[in-house]
Symmetry: C2
Subunit: 192 residues, 2 copies
C-alpha cells in the first residue's frame, strides 16, 4: 500500500499489525493478514521481525507506550504537584488508564495480558519505567525515606490488584473504587 525507507516501514508494519489485531482479534490474526494489509509478501515482514511473537510483542510495546506510558509521563511531569498528592494522582491515573482500555480496547488489552504472561522482558521494562517515575516522585516530595525505589516498588505491588491485567475480571465490580481507597488509606498512613 505505502512505500518508504526501512526506518518508516517498521513503524508501518506495527501500525498495520495493530489495526489488524483490532479487526480480527488475537486468535485470528496471521502475519499473512498483516502482509496483505500492507500489500507486501509475508517474507518482507520477516526481514523486520524475527517471528510472529516478536511482531506481536512489538505491537504491544507500541500500544503500551502510547496508551499508558505517555499519558502517565505527563502526570509524572506535573511541576505543580508534590508528595502524596502527586503519587496518588500518578497511581490513580495508571489504574484508570488500565481499566479504561480493558473495557474500550479489549482486543489490544487482551494481547497485552497475554504478553504479560509470557514475555517477562517487555513487562519488566514497562514496570521498570513506572517504578522509576514513582521513585522520582517520592524522592522529590517531602516523604522521608532513604530507599525511594523500595518504597515505589512496595506501593506498586500493593496496588497490583487495581492495575494488573490478571485482575481485569474484578474491575467490573462496583466496589473496586472503594477497595482501592481502602488500600490507599493504608499507604497514605504509612508514608506520612
Amino acid at each position: 500500500m505505502e512505500k518508504s525507507p526501512s526506518v518508516l516501514t517498521k513503524q508501518q508494519i506495527l501500525h498495520a499489525t495493530e489495526e489488524t489485531l483490532r479487526r480480527f482479534g488475537l486468535d485470528k490474526i496471521s502475519v499473512t493478514d498483516v502482509a496483505k494489509v500492507l500489500g507486501v509478501s509475508h517474507g518482507t515482514i520477516y526481514r523486520h521481525f524475527k517471528s510472529k511473537s516478536e511482531l506481536l510483542e512489538g505491537a504491544t510495546e507500541k500500544w503500551l507506550d502510547s496508551k499508558i506510558v505517555k499519558p502517565l509521563t505527563e502526570v509524572y511531569q506535573k511541576a505543580e504537584m508534590r508528595g502524596m498528592d502527586h503519587l496518588q494522582a500518578y497511581i490513580w491515573t495508571l489504574i484508570q488508564l488500565k481499566q479504561h482500555y480493558a473495557r474500550e480496547d479489549a482486543e489490544l488489552f487482551k494481547i497485552y495480558a497475554k504478553v504479560t504472561e509470557d514475555s517477562a522482558e517487555l513487562v519488566s521494562r514497562h514496570i521498570g519505567i513506572i517504578i522509576e517515575q514513582m521513585s522520582e516522585i517520592i524522592s522529590r516530595g517531602p516523604i522521608k525515606t532513604n530507599r525511594p525505589d523500595q518504597l515505589a516498588r512496595a506501593v506498586f505491588h500493593a496496588t497490583m490488584r487495581f492495575h494488573h491485567p490478571a485482575h481485569a475480571y474484578e474491575w467490573k465490580s462496583a466496589a473496586i473504587e472503594d477497595e482501592f481507597l481502602e488500600v490507599w488509606g493504608l499507604i497514605r498512613k504509612a508514608l506520612s
Copy 2:
C-alpha cells in the same frame, strides 16, 4: 468399591474426584472416570451433584478447607499472639501455604485457579472467612481502628500478589520474599 449410606458417599465421591484429578489432571478427568474409580455408574454421581462443574467445585472447596483454611485457622487461634505479629504470622502462613501447594500439588492448585476465575461464589466465601479472621485478629490486638473489617480487607488486597493464584507464575522469582517484606513494611508502618 465401597458401600455406605448417602451421607458418607458424598465425601467418598469428592475423595475419589480429588484422587482422579491428581492422577489424570484437570483437562483429562471425566465424571465417568470418577464413577469407574468408585465402581458405580456415572448416573449415581449425578444423584449427588447437579453437574460436573459442581462436582469439581466441591472437590476444590474440600481441598481449600483442608489445605488452606484449616492450618490458617490454627494460626488464627494462637492465644499467645497479638496485634501486628499475629497478623503478620497469619498473612505469612497464607502466603506460604499458597506458594507451597502451587508447587507441590500443581493439579489441584490448577483447578483452584480455574474455579477462582469462574466461580465467584466459592471464592468469595473463602476470602470471606480469611478476612473475617484477619478482622478479628486486628480488633483483638492493640491496633487502633473503628473499622477492623475495612483494614483487614485492605491488607488482604494489598498483599494479593503474594497469595492470589493468578500471580503464581511470579512466585518462582527469588525476589518474591523481599518484595513481600517491602509491602509488609508499608503495612506495618500504616498500622502503628
